[in-house]
């Protein structure tokens, strides 16, 4: 239970960074922290005390594997998080070329 609470505190730190920081790169870092927290939460859900990795052994029958499905899910989720982060960084670099600043309060030409 306390592990879950710590994981959510990590998520909130990332959310705070996205909502409050002015630098574009800090916002991307905040999104990265949020993704780490969500992936960790998935794996924490599937953990079993005294569990073993979900890999078969030749000679014995393993009775207490941890849950393999969240691991497959997080495998895909890490890659999707990488794709979105790459896209964000590319757009941020182009913004720096055009606006000459990373400050989001100055990148404000669209109004209404």
């Amino acid at each position: 239970m306390s592990v879950y609470v710590l994981c959510f505190i990590l998520f909130s730190i990332g959310l705070y960074c996205v909502l409050r920081k002015r630098n574009l790169i800090k916002i991307i870092i905040g999104i990265g922290i949020m993704e780490y927290a969500v992936n960790l939460f998935f794996i924490l859900i599937g953990y079993r005390f005294e569990g073993r990795s979900p890999i078969y052994a030749h000679d014995k029958v393993i009775k207490n594997m941890v849950d393999p499905l969240p691991q497959a899910v997080v495998l895909t989720s890490i890659v999707i998080g990488l794709s979105v982060t790459l896209m964000l960084i590319a757009v941020a670099m182009r913004i720096y070329e055009r606006y000459k600043t990373f400050d989001i309060t100055k990148i404000n030409r669209l109004k209404g």
Partner: protein, 174 residues
């Protein structure tokens, strides 16, 4: 499970450093350490494939982030407008954490998962697919549409970056 708590405390400290420090390069290095902490956590939670994957992806995104911040004079980030925005954000986060705590009390306690379809994967995975790594069997065999989608997402991201990085956007002739 004292190791998980220690690793999580380390990650939280590194995340706070990444968020608050003024120098951009230092905060990129701090988020690198959050990623390595996550990879260690995956190892302790008995998910070796994920630890490898997280390390590789972490290194990739770190390199690209450093490239994005390196050549641009290391601009320092300045504190923004304070009072109302910060209090509103902290209030929203407190409400969110309280609601999450109430919901977390009602799911399975840590360390005793309820296995639904995972039971079928564990019991019959070897005979259905012939793979000894159950996670590989799930990713490549049972849920192969997910892996196709993951490859499509990478393809979309690459074509998107090519489209965004064009030097000339408009045709001059028309």
């Amino acid at each position: 499970m004292i190791e998980i708590h220690l690793i999580l405390l380390f990650m939280i400290t590194a995340a706070v450093i990444a968020v608050e420090v003024k120098d951009l390069l230092s905060s990129v290095v701090a988020i690198g350490s959050v990623g390595i902490g996550l990879s260690l956590a995956f190892l302790v939670l008995k998910a070796p494939d994920l630890a490898i994957m997280q390390l590789v992806v972490e290194i990739l995104s770190l390199i690209i982030l450093v490239r994005a911040t390196m050549r641009k004079d290391l601009p320092f980030s300045i504190s923004g407008r304070w009072v109302f925005n910060t209090f509103a954000t902290i209030f929203f986060l407190i409400v969110f954490l309280t609601a999450a705590y109430i919901a977390l009390k009602n799911i399975q306690s840590f360390g005793n998962p309820v296995l639904g379809i995972s039971k079928t994967y564990i019991d019959k995975g070897m005979e259905m697919t012939g793979a000894s790594n159950v996670v590989a069997a799930i990713t490549l065999n049972f849920r192969s549409l997910d892996s196709l989608g993951e490859a499509m997402a990478l393809l979309t991201s690459v074509i998107g970056i090519l489209a965004v990085a064009r030097r000339i956007g408009y045709n001059k002739r028309s």
